[in-house]
């Protein structure tokens, strides 16, 4: 979904999110948070990747061109863009691939060496591969083996063969996937940031509902995250 803003876009960091009101659904009450997938400053638009899963996302995915939506953005903190030229691995799974496009573009523009590893259940679940390919070397895994290497992202040969060559790993996807990626990063002493997705009521740090356990206690995913360095999280379990 492409959203054109009434106001001139602020500078948006990869990993930041937008909180969208689902106006036409009877059964939803709160806004729905989405990673910002891509930004076109010339057209003053942001792109959102929506998969219709629950009532809110289904309703939003049926929006028609020209409709008005209430969107609060950009919210939260993005991924850390390295200062020194670096080799960076982006790992996305399922809907978690959304923030990685803008991230890949940003890293690519700053001349970092970008590898993008996307995981999906099956070939049909993979979207916009051409777009990702523009900003880095693309690697794919599917659980059923219908495209790329068969298995989960951590089964990809990059993990066994050349993980040590990376300076940073940035990941977003289902929590078990991120935990598996984070464990590999920690084992190999590679800087790793993950983008978390907890249920939120407000999205700007006042309801205190979306907390995650960190080394500094419970912290809001919306304002302290959604991107966290794994060193700050209590993920050892």
């Amino acid at each position: 979904m492409i959203l054109q803003s009434e106001n001139k876009l602020r500078d948006i960091q990869p990993g930041q999110f937008a909180n969208i009101l689902v106006d036409k659904s009877q059964s939803t009450f709160l806004r729905r948070p989405f990673s910002i997938h891509f930004v076109d400053y010339a057209k003053n638009t942001i792109h959102i990747l929506i998969k219709g899963i629950g009532a809110g996302t289904k309703c939003l995915s049926q929006s028609q061109p020209g409709e008005n939506l209430s969107v609060i953005f950009p919210l939260g903190n993005g991924f850390t863009i390295p200062v020194q030229p670096s080799k960076v691995l982006l790992v996305g799974g399922g809907c978690g691939i959304a923030p990685l496009l803008l991230l890949a573009q940003t890293l690519n523009n700053k001349n970092h060496q970008v590898h993008i590893l996307l995981g999906a259940r099956s070939k049909d679940d993979l979207v916009e591969l051409d777009a990702y390919q523009k900003f880095g070397t693309l690697h794919i895994t599917t659980e059923d083996g219908s495209y790329g290497e068969k298995g989960f992202v951590t089964h990809h040969h990059l993990f066994a063969d050349s993980l040590n060559s990376f300076d940073y790993i940035f990941t977003c996807g289902p929590e078990p996937m991120m935990k598996a990626v984070a464990a590999q990063a920690a084992k190999n002493n590679i800087q790793c940031e993950v983008s978390l997705e907890n249920t939120m009521a407000c999205g700007f740090g006042v309801c205190l509902c979306c907390v995650t356990e960190t080394t500094e206690g419970n912290q809001c995913v919306c304002t302290e995250g959604p991107v966290f360095n794994i060193k700050r999280l209590k993920w050892q379990n």
Binding site: F29, V206, L208
Partner: protein, 303 residues
């Protein structure tokens, strides 16, 4: 322009619109959205004597026309508030109030004593109605003797305006309101959240880590309105009404039922500009009905 100013005890509000504790952070979070000084005042989140980590995640469940929360009064404690938050609040040109909670009467007293020293805090809202903490909170607000005891104790050490926030999880809220009025409350605010529960049928597990939580949002508005109306007939102190207020019409309904002022809570999460829209909408209503002052709405339900 109609006159919107209202007084609650010694508090002069430029309009009847306040924000509910726990839905407005420390106010500063809203500076990006609008000029917070336009509010009648804001009530910062529940502060306890000792720091509290709050309850584990998940703390929230969306429900039909509302939400359940089980935050559990996460806050840095009163010393943290005084040292790190209070300095950010002294520049506001509106009333800033602190919601005070505790597990024991001694905690309430110690917390209120510290807040009493703060010149720019115009009042406290004594929270005897939090459903999400194991000890204290709601336990104080569900019986007349315990409500009276904690209010009387805090009254001795707190010398500015003291509002007492009432729990709806009682058989007779008017009785509790009378008890806290007798104990020295300057005002009562109602209602806090209603105890509720959500279950995930697929996993057969409760949605909230604490199993039960507090229900808020438009789903509770009719109950809140009924309770404000009942309490209006039972006490003389001014009432602050809250519970599911989303727009100016809702706010006016609460005033007609007997509220002198209102608080906006859950609506802040969905539209951070709700309070400003309510202030403007209230003015429009008064002009349209040729009513000079918002004060003339209080308790003016036509039977």
């Amino acid at each position: 322009m109609a006159e919107l100013n209202i007084s609650i005890d010694r508090l002069m509000l430029k309009n009847p619109v306040l924000t509910a504790s726990g839905t407005f952070g420390y106010g500063v979070e809203f500076d990006d959205f609008f000029d917070v000084n336009r509010l009648g005042g804001f009530i910062v989140k529940g502060t306890t004597f000792h720091p509290r980590q709050g309850n584990p995640y998940p703390r929230m469940a969306e429900t039909p026309s509302g939400m359940l929360n089980a935050v559990g009064l996460q806050n840095g404690g009163v010393d943290y508030f005084v040292k790190n938050i209070y300095p950010k609040l002294t520049g506001y040109q509106t009333n800033v109030l602190v919601n005070v909670s505790g597990s024991t009467v001694e905690d309430y007293i110690a917390c209120a004593e510290r807040i009493n020293e703060l010149e720019h805090i115009s009042g406290i809202e004594l929270n005897i109605s939090c459903p999400n903490v194991k000890e204290g909170g709601m336990a104080f607000g569900t019986s007349c003797p315990s409500a009276e005891a904690v209010v009387r104790a805090v009254r001795k050490v707190y010398h500015r305006t003291m509002i007492v926030k009432l729990s709806p999880n009682v058989t007779d809220i008017a009785e509790i309101a009378r008890a806290v009025e007798n104990a020295g409350a300057d005002s009562v605010s109602l209602i806090n959240t209603l105890l509720g529960m959500a279950i995930n049928a697929e996993t057969r597990k409760p949605v909230l880590s604490t199993v039960t939580g507090g229900l808020s949002g438009p789903a509770v508005k009719p109950i809140a309105l009924r309770m404000v109306w009942q309490v209006y007939q039972a006490v003389k102190v001014p009432i602050i009404g809250l519970g599911g207020i989303m727009n100016a019409t809702d706010a006016i309904e609460f005033m007609l039922a007997g509220a002198s002022a209102i608080q906006v809570g859950t609506a802040n999460f969905i539209d951070p500009l709700t309070t400003i829209n309510i202030i403007d909408g209230m003015n429009d209503y008064l002009e349209r009905h040729k009513i000079a002052s918002a004060k003339e709405l209080i308790g003016q339900l036509q039977m």
